[in-house]
Amino acid sequence: MSAWRLRVKLRSATGLLVSTRPTQRHTSPYGPLTLCRSLSTGSHLRNEFFKDLEAQLAAFRKKAADALPGSSWSPLQINPNLPPERADIVIVGGGVLGWSIAYWLKQKEMVRGGVRVLVVEKDPTEHLGVLNEDPVDLQFNQSGYLFLASEEVAHIMEENYSTQRYAGAKVSLLSPTQLKQKFPWLNTDGVVLASYGLENEGWFDPWTLLNAFRRKAISMGVIQCCGEVTDFKYTTDVLRTASGDTVDLKRIGSVKVQMPNSLEYQPVECAIVVNAAGAFSGKLTEMLGIGSGPKDSIAGIPLPVEPRKRYVYVVHCPDGPGLDSPFLIDYSGVYFRREGLGGNYIAGVSPEEAEEPDTSNLEVDYQFFEEKVWPCLAHRVPAFEKLKVTSAWAGFYDYNTFDQNGIIGIHPLINNMYLATGFSGHGLQHSPAVGRAVAELILDGNFKTIDLSNFSFRRILTQEPMLEINIV
């Protein structure tokens, strides 16, 4: 019996010794038998016994917790994906605006770790990135934008031209003959005037920009969380105006973040909430009771941002306009631009008000392309009569139903919610500037670089739209 035991020990001992570093052999004066553990600290050397013990201990703890009634308090962190219990600033929405704001907040804090920022994003499938060390190359194609104007809107284009030249943008106005000279593939039928950006105008890769902001922000200490904000805990202060009406001012105390596909949630106590939720910002403010007051009070005015589905189609046309084609926007609203160097183009159009597609899903309607986009494209660029749709996607615009322009600033009825939403498709181009502006608002108290106070929620209260002319 003892001999058998000795043999087993010897086998396990030599097994252990063999599996250690082959260069060094530990020998004790009493032979390898007595030295069952070597002195290295690699994890693979842990004895089976201890591994079992740990597993058994975990199982025991779980069993005890299940058996005993009582509080759910446990000193161990159960789910590593949960957001922290406290953050100073919670940014709802991890799109390009949200991450831009996070980046600028970290950039502006004067001390490292000054503000604790958490970005909550509902759908991270589009935002997973791979860390790499190359400098950010946004793939900026400087091919410029080409706006076409018909008879009715030509005067607006001229006004815009003078504004743009005054601001320093290098744009030029082209007549139809000049257009035909420059872009022989273009059909100038119905075009009276065109505006072409000569320098520093074009398109870039939004995915790269988002990832750049995101990576940099995370490296500076911003915490990212994948979850959905489902509720707020707020305190209400009831004030009375001079005429005797009551006004409810709310202060958000904590944000309830729900984990994806699970009932688990974490209330995050916070000082400031930034609403950069894009298409769903309206829904977010509804949770706070904005829009559900009496019709003639401030509380009755909802945040006029709702999701609008837009389709983008990728088409392949080998005989298309070629490498010098700009981002062309027709006066009918149809646009296309070159994508890459292989004869692919991206095209689309904003649907009419009456024909807004259903926003409950992100499915693409190819019928829409056949009926609305292709005829105009083919009319404007004859080469596009023969094209093939290779793929398409749909996305939500955070459409500001009031005046299709962004809303930046604090909401009058919620003391600590900053809005940065409603850009109606222009969020990407505005994101660096708006991020910086919101960071200045939060940390400095007012705008410093550019005064964006015209974008505040006030214009919605006073019903004075700030319309931009000639938008896509």
């Binding site: 000193p75 000054g114 604090i410």
Partner: protein
């Protein structure tokens, strides 16, 4: 002393048997009344001590600290009312019980005659504090904070136990009053050197000394308001009190054994003051300022001159009140904005002017403005250190300047400047908060009229 201890013990049944609506009222008023009982102890009629029994005594060193402890309990209870609103009555009563048991241990610690009893209660104060930090603290980091707090203090004080038992064996008694007369001078041998270290390290960790101070910012920041108050105001002073008591038995090798700790403290107070300038978290700033002030006390105790002892005791009382008040102010900020970050709540003077007045007074006493007792303490320490070594005046001077810098930085950052947009609707200061600040400030300001009460045994 039983006339203080028994009523304090009876506060526990008072808490548990009160009606739910009367918990706070009962405990606050009764603890205030118990404070009045400690006032007669101020009547010290000779230079020795007031020996009330074989187990308890009080002299002019322990009396101010005892009064500070007892004064602080009603203040802690007042300060905790807001953040415990949502808890169940049982939890509230449990919290108050923790505070009261901490109070019992502290009262007994400051009046203990026997050093072993002092030690046992010194360790016993860790338990309620740990429970308060880890159960009612704010964030997940509180577990780490509790761990640091517990183990730093335990590891530091275990050698003290061994040293005390050895002293009991060699001298036959650990009665503090007798020990000063019976103790033999220590020799420069290894064993006596280690005995010196063993006795002092527990208090060095508690003060805390600069190199051993890591537990303090964590514990202070993560603790709830009452925990922060008691930590800053009293528990740190336990270390100072212990050092003051035990140095009488550790002569004469203190003259050279103290050098490393003196250097660490002199350098550490400048370091921690400088760290305060770069803090973004308000509570963390006040915690580091505590380390800086306590470093002054360590220096004073180790150079062992009459003026330095007076300065040390005055500084301990003054810092206790000031630091506790600063934590209460920071907490009032936190309750409104849910954030401890300083840059997120600025320009509060326009919104809450009375609170701004308390902030101003607290910051001014923190930077040792004349004629407050903070100044008396610091001045005595600086002067005695100068007489010990002329060069130290440079370090002390730099420390005083940087202390003024960060106190004013904290004041300007939170009170002055343009307000941030998201604080435009804060609830105004509650009477409870104003009472709290007044009760901190009144002793602080009145003591500057008659500081000899707090100048300790050598006045």
């Amino acid at each position: 002393m039983l006339k203080i201890i028994i009523p304090t013990i009876m506060l526990i049944p008072l808490t548990w048997l009160s009606k739910n609506s009367m918990i706070w009222i009962n405990t606050t008023t009764h603890s205030l009344v118990i404070t009045l009982i400690s006032l007669p102890l101020l009547n010290q009629f000779n230079d020795n001590s007031l020996n009330l029994s074989t187990m308890y005594f009080s002299d002019s060193l322990s009396t101010p600290l005892l009064m500070l402890t007892m004064w602080l309990l009603p203040l802690m209870i007042i300060a905790s009312q807001f953040h415990l609103i949502k808890e169940s009555p049982t939890r509230k009563k449990l919290y108050i019980t923790m505070l009261i048991s901490l109070q019992i241990f502290l009262v007994m610690t400051f009046t203990a005659t026997e050093l072993i009893m002092f030690y046992i209660l010194f360790e016993a104060t860790l338990v309620p504090t740990l429970i308060i930090i880890t159960r009612w603290g704010g964030q997940t980091e509180r577990l780490n904070a509790g761990l640091y707090f517990l183990f730093y203090t335990l590891v530091g004080s275990l050698p003290l136990l061994i040293a005390l038992i050895h002293l009991q064996n060699s001298t036959g008694s650990l009665n503090m009053l007798l020990a000063q007369y019976w103790s033999e001078p220590l020799k420069t041998s290894w064993s006596d050197t280690i005995l010196w270290l063993a006795c002092m390290m527990a208090f060095m960790v508690k003060m805390p000394l600069y190199g051993l101070h890591l537990w303090l910012p964590k514990a202070h920041v993560e603790a709830p308001i009452a925990g922060s108050m008691v930590l800053a105001a009293i528990l740190l002073k336990l270390g100072g009190y212990g050092m003051l008591r035990i140095t009488t038995m550790l002569t004469p090798i203190t003259s050279f054994m103290a050098y490393p700790f003196l250097m660490l403290s002199l350098w550490g107070m400048i370091m921690t003051s400088s760290i305060c300038l770069r803090q973004t978290d308000l509570k963390s700033l006040i915690a580091y300022s505590s380390v800086s002030h306590m470093a002054l006390v360590i220096v004073a105790v180790l150079i062992q001159t009459p003026w330095s002892f007076m300065g040390a005791t005055a500084l301990m009382i003054a810092h206790g009140l000031t630091s506790s008040m600063l934590f209460c102010l920071a907490n009032s900020n936190y309750e409104r904005t849910h954030s401890r970050t300083m840059i997120l709540a600025r320009g509060l003077q326009t919104m809450l002017p009375l609170m701004a007045a308390w902030w101003l007074l607290a910051s001014l006493t923190n930077l040792a403005l004349p004629p407050s007792i903070n100044l008396i303490g610091e001045l005595f320490v600086v002067m005695s250190t100068f007489s010990w070594s002329s060069i130290s005046i440079i370090l002390m001077g730099i420390n005083i300047v940087i202390t003024a810098l960060y106190s004013l930085y904290m004041l300007i950052m939170t009170q002055r400047g343009k307000q941030t947009h998201h604080i435009n609707n804060l609830p105004p200061s509650y009477t409870r908060e104003n009472t709290l600040m007044t009760m901190h400030l009144l002793p602080l300001l009145l003591l500057s009229i008659n500081p000899k009460i707090i100048l300790g045994t050598l006045y």
